[in-house]
């Protein structure tokens, strides 16, 4: 069992981990933003997301090229290059992960890029069944295997899973290489489609007023998941109260914290500028400045805290650094999901965000 630094944990636990929904105040204090200001915000977001998608497509292209080269002429050096290319592409995805509408939503594309959380180890189970089948693995087979087989976590599994790496299936085994390149081809195709469809989506995004709230809600959801599920849960601050790396993103590769940094950087670069404009338009200049400052303060924890999560959870002083990051992210969530959302009249509803 991991030792718990009680003296550090106590104040953090007292922070609210409950549903980040607020009662009542939203309608009363909501300021209206003019349609023109909202459209300007969408224009800015459109371009930012387009450049994020472009970077993703470019990194996915490289990942596939490097994976194919490695599988054709395997050598230790090129395996490292696959690992690096996977990380670059995966982090490019993290920075646009907050976009949960439009082409990313259709056909479960976001899930195809990253199936998470994976409480039942479906990725491991899918890999095992695909690697042990007699037939060859192709992109078509991967497509039929479902979202758990199609994205970055599957590549991570093949590169980093200790059981696979100790077995005869370890890369560059033929079948494992087939799976690796089939998945990287799938990621490449999905990234290309995302870019093409984002261009087609432009007039709808710019003309449909609901996408203003939709974009803000995407960022709010991302922040809440970041705080509660990507940090609080593995840190043992919620649920079972036990620390566990298995609840985090990308624990196999030790890049959980790098993904958090990439998500925050993506939000800061792509989401924040137009969001600040809207807040200022709604009379929230001070709040906009505080949010900008809080983003900077939160990102100052990197790269120091950028270590494998296992290390951060077991070492008391490292855990303290993680807690400091957590406190700053919580503060960011409060500023955006509570204060700014109320100011702009955006409600992340109990029913509207997770209905049936």
């Amino acid at each position: 069992m991991l030792r718990i630094a009680q003296k550090f944990l106590a104040p953090v636990q007292s922070l609210s981990l409950s549903l980040a929904l607020c009662f009542g105040a939203a309608t009363a204090t909501a300021s209206t933003v003019s349609p023109d200001a909202a459209e300007s915000a969408r224009k800015l977001w459109y371009e930012g997301i387009a450049s994020g998608y472009h970077a993703l497509a470019s990194q996915a292209e490289t990942l596939n090229k490097v994976a194919e080269a490695y599988c054709q002429t395997p050598a230790t050096a090129t395996r490292d290059s696959v690992t690096q290319a996977w990380k670059d592409a995966f982090l490019a995805w993290q920075s646009v992960r907050f976009v949960d509408f439009g082409p990313a939503e259709l056909g479960n594309r976001a899930w195809q890029f990253q199936f998470w959380p994976d409480a039942k180890n479906l990725i491991g189970r899918k890999a095992s069944s695909l690697l042990n089948q007699d037939d060859n693995v192709s992109p078509k087979v991967v497509a039929q295997a479902g979202v758990a087989a199609q994205g970055f976590p599957m590549v991570e599994y093949l590169l980093f899973d200790e059981t696979v790496n100790r077995s005869e299936n370890a890369l560059p085994a033929e079948k494992t290489c087939q799976l690796l390149t089939s998945v990287t081809q799938t990621i490449r195709a999905n990234s290309r489609d995302l870019n093409t469809e984002w261009v087609k989506f432009k007039p709808h995004y710019l003309e449909t007023a609901q996408y203003t709230d939709g974009t803000i809600l995407g960022a709010m959801n991302t922040l809440e998941i970041l705080e509660n599920r990507r940090l609080a849960a593995p840190m043992g601050l919620s649920g079972t109260k036990k620390r566990s790396i298995y609840r985090a993103d990308a624990w196999r590769s030790g890049t959980s914290l790098a993904t958090i940094e990439a998500t925050l950087t993506g939000l800061k670069n792509i989401f924040l500028p137009a969001f600040s404009d809207l807040l200022k338009e709604a009379g929230g200049k001070d709040l906009a400045n505080r949010i900008n400052a809080q983003f900077n303060e939160t990102l100052e924890h990197f790269p120091d805290v950028n270590k494998p999560l296992a290390e951060l959870l077991t070492d008391d002083s490292a855990f303290y650094a993680l807690q400091s990051l957590y406190v700053d992210i919580s503060q960011l969530v409060t500023l955006i999901n509570d204060q700014a959302a109320v100011k702009l009249g955006v409600v992340r509803g109990f029913n509207s965000s997770d209905g049936d």
């Binding site: 409950s18 929904l21 009662f23 309608t27 479960n108 709808h204 509803g349 109990f350 029913n351």
Partner: protein
């Protein structure tokens, strides 16, 4: 095309008009047995836990019963003190409470390989409970039948021959189940991911509750119009409400009406449909008049329309509104995820009855 037994349906509508005539003024669901008029809903609490919350018709608190996980909707058991709530999808159990006190009487787990979807309805005598469910490995929609007189023993399974049933109601003939089949394939291992958006086959199904025979099956005008909620008037007019799975910038009809043997969609026009955000959480046909209420949390809009004409008679913005129920006298009560209870009328401006520190889930149960 699908089987459609016209004679049975005709008999059903005759029986329905007889019921409407005989029952007179006391047509509100549950009013005969649930005491001096009360409503209940599944709620989320500020500390992140969940409960069932009961209120009177003025919105005053009566009781609150904790539950282990988020519930969705339920029903009252006729001729008894029992109130039932079902866990939301994927629901692994349902709860039965004393309607007056909130005391928990039963907690029934789903059978292996099955999960509930948040709804249920009793037979008119209260002896059988019908719960829509999914055999999730096979992706088969069913209605699971429980005998309430044998401590909710599972006694039967009715096959819907389709995927993703959601709400069901009892036709006033007392014999026909009206089932909204969403058409969306999900699996508990895959969160709430929609696995078959390209090949959905949503439907409104009329089924004989004893034989399980499918008497009629109607398809929405687009395969991604997920038919999720349904209600029926005492005269047998059925109203189905959809959730459109296509892009947000498109709008499609979200309500269908079945009357006189005809299934037809009501088009409120692009502007109103946009305000409904392609999503309706509740549809309620008022038993005392021709009015039907809708609530959309995505659109933050609740409205009342005339059932016969489709004309909208009242519309208001309520953030995260989802629950709706008919009030004695001809109006409706709307609940929201922000804890609001709003009295919505065709004749007067909306009135907030209460604002509680809790999140009302999708449905109110009378």
């Amino acid at each position: 095309m699908i089987s459609f037994n016209r004679r049975t349906l005709f008999k059903a509508s005759l029986a329905a008009s007889a019921v409407a005539t005989l029952s007179g003024c006391s047509l509100l669901r549950g009013t005969t047995q649930s005491g001096p008029g009360q409503l209940a809903g599944a709620v989320g609490l500020p500390d992140g836990t969940f409960a069932i919350n009961a209120i009177d018709l003025q919105g005053r608190q009566l009781w609150q019963a904790p539950v282990e996980s988020r519930c969705h909707s339920g029903c009252t058991r006729p001729s008894s003190n029992e109130l039932l709530f079902v866990e939301r999808r994927p629901g692994w159990s349902f709860y039965v409470f004393n309607i007056h006190t909130g005391e928990r009487l039963h907690h029934i787990k789903a059978e292996g390989g099955e999960h509930f979807v948040g709804h249920g309805i009793f037979s008119p005598g209260g002896d059988y409970l019908y719960v829509p469910a999914s055999r999730y490995e096979q992706g088969e929609g069913i209605v699971a039948v429980y005998d309430s007189q044998q401590n909710y023993k599972r006694v039967k399974t009715l096959e819907l021959k389709g995927i993703g049933p959601h709400q069901l109601v009892m036709h006033p003939d007392g014999q026909t189940l009206i089932v909204a089949l969403g058409g969306i394939l999900t699996h508990p291992d895959y969160d709430r991911i929609k696995l078959n958006l390209d090949t959905m086959k949503p439907a409104l199904i009329l089924m004989d509750r004893n034989s399980g025979e499918i008497l009629a099956r109607f398809a929405p005008s687009h395969h991604q119009l997920s038919c999720r909620h349904v209600d029926v008037s005492p005269g047998g007019n059925i109203y189905a409400a959809y959730q459109y799975q296509g892009p947000r910038y498109e709008t499609r009809p979200l309500v269908a009406r079945y009357r006189g043997g005809q299934y037809e969609e009501i088009d409120f026009g692009h502007e109103v449909l946009a305000e409904l955000g392609n999503y309706i959480a509740s549809v309620v046909a008022h038993p005392e008049n021709d009015l039907v209420a809708l609530a959309s949390p995505i659109g933050g809009t609740a409205l009342i329309f005339e059932g016969s004409s489709g004309r909208i008679v009242s519309k208001t913005r309520i953030k995260d509104c989802a629950g709706a129920e008919a009030l004695p006298g001809g109006d409706f009560l709307i609940s929201s995820g922000q804890g609001e209870l709003i009295h919505l009328s065709a004749h007067r401006s909306p009135v907030e009855l209460a604002r509680m520190p809790l999140h009302w889930d999708h449905h109110l149960v009378l």
